[in-house]
């Protein structure tokens, strides 16, 4: 991916930033520009507290075992 794409979401990603809708109180994570529930445009920023978060699922991709190869000689 192009660098600006990471740059655009870095605040959200590293500060766990979300928004709370001023009208219906919906908690939006990640943030949006309009509330998907009530179409309200005013949204208050919040940073998620890690202690509040709950793991809903996880998965592990199977990574092939690495082969021991001698270091390259130059």
């Amino acid at each position: 991916m192009h660098i600006p794409r990471y740059w655009r979401v870095q605040n959200q990603r590293y500060n766990l930033a979300g928004e709370i809708c001023k009208q219906c109180g919906a908690r939006l994570f990640p943030p949006r520009d309009i509330c998907p529930g009530c179409r309200e445009l005013s949204l208050d920023p919040f940073a998620a507290d890690l202690s509040e978060l709950q793991v809903l699922g996880f998965q592990s991709e199977r990574i092939p075992q690495t082969v021991d190869l001698p270091p390259l000689r130059v």
């Binding site: 991916m1 794409r5 990471y6 655009r8 979401v9 994570f29 990640p30 998907p36 809903l56 699922g57 996880f58 998965q59 592990s60 991709e61 199977r62």
Partner: protein, 385 residues
């Protein structure tokens, strides 16, 4: 609005067609469908395809295929809606004919996955159906996303991996009777349990194979169908609904809201309810997706989609036969073509020409095609006139 019927079907065998290109596959399906309908051309051509740009470095495929199929001059556009691209093309064909803007519409779904140089490339291409900024960026492939859903589902409803085996065993059994299927051999529940993992808890046996293939249908107004063919099948419902692309943006990741909405719209259009449906071509790209789709469409209570399979209700003589020609799992999943394959198979069943896999007294068939993990869901219901 005019009533619309399908008067011609065509399909290629699903598989790894190393000797055929995207345009050749499309031509094969189009020729078969036109000849089945007794026509030489149609007013419009809609092509369903998801990955030609990424995998074959070829966009602008509708005009390419129109030209290659000797239909130069025809109105032709490509439709993209991730894995439901084929069903979306059927939807556009339906709109054109129902709205009176075309008298004959040709719809072709085509995918050429083996043009990808590696399975990693193919997987990255398919991940484009997910939310690029928030899902794919973390390396979540379709298998990984479905693994998240499956683990949560197993946790929520107290299920084990082996509980999903009946979906796979069933799909493969049906594929043995389909000459166009990619994997037409039976598999056992033991083989299911021994299959290598892709993204825990999803194994190779939970997943539909990537494939090449093309399928096509010809549509016309129902009041002219009898002039052209003896065995037309009516489209009594065509409905599309959308949801958030990312599973974290959904109200409840284990309830496919778009599947629910599009099924409800379809039932309403057709004036039927789930108990009236004689067979259901479900989007079993992963076993978990089949379960979630069955639940969202009202064939099972939440958490009980898996039980339908365990109790044999999805068999050809069960309460709601699914994947009657092998489904995505065993017929194969040429993504952008899959939605059209489902429609072709419904027509085979409703015409009473499904051979060994014939569902007895099939009058009403439903197909549901799912883009991504449920961002787009398209439901069609067909009926014997």
């Amino acid at each position: 609005m005019r009533d619309v019927s399908i008067i011609g079907i065509g399909q290629t065998k699903v598989g790894e067609h190393w000797d055929k290109s995207l345009r050749q596959l499309a031509l094969e399906a189009i020729s078969a469908a036109l000849s089945d309908a007794g026509l030489e051309r149609a007013d419009v051509l809609y092509v369903g395809n998801m990955l030609s740009g990424k995998v074959s470095a070829q966009e602008h495929v509708a005009a390419l295929i129109a030209d290659f199929a000797a239909l130069r001059g025809i109105e032709a556009v490509k439709v993209e809606a991730a894995e439901s691209s084929g069903a979306a093309a059927v939807r556009l064909g339906y709109l054109a004919v129902a709205g009176g803007l075309a008298d004959t519409a040709l719809v072709c779904g085509v995918e050429k996955m083996t043009d990808a140089v590696s399975s990693a490339t193919a997987s990255a291409a398919l991940a484009m159906a997910a939310d690029s900024d928030y899902e794919a960026v973390h390396g979540l492939s379709p298998a990984a996303l479905n693994a998240l859903l499956m683990r949560r589902y197993m946790h929520e409803y107290g299920l084990k991996r082996e509980d999903f085996a009946p979906f796979t065993v069933h799909a493969h059994r049906n594929a043995t009777g389909n000459p166009y299927a990619m994997l037409p051999w039976p598999v056992t529940a033991e083989a299911f349990m021994k299959a290598p993992m892709i993204a825990d808890p999803i194994s190779l046996m939970d997943s539909a194979p990537l494939a090449d293939g093309a399928a096509a249908v010809v549509l016309c107004p129902s009041d002219r169908a009898h002039l052209l063919t003896g065995d037309a099948v009516r489209i009594v419902a065509s409905a599309v609904a959308t949801d958030a692309l990312a599973i974290h943006d959904r109200r409840d990741p284990l309830f496919m809201e778009a599947a629910y909405l599009s099924a409800q719209k379809a039932y309403q259009q057709a004036g039927v309810s789930p108990v009236d449906i004689d067979l259901f071509e479900v989007h079993d790209a992963f076993t978990i997706m089949a379960a979630l789709s069955l639940e969202a469409c009202g064939f099972a209570w939440r958490g009980e989609g898996v039980r339908l399979a365990q109790e044999g209700e999805i068999a050809l003589d069960g309460r709601i036969p699914i994947c009657t020609m092998g489904g995505l799992k065993a017929r194969g999943h040429p993504v952008g073509a899959t939605g059209v394959y489902q429609i072709v198979e419904l027509v085979q069943q409703l015409r009473g020409r499904a051979g060994a896999n014939q569902v007895r007294n099939a009058r009403l068939g439903m197909a549901q095609s799912i883009g991504g993990t449920g961002g787009t869901v398209i439901t069609h219901i067909l009926e014997v006139p």
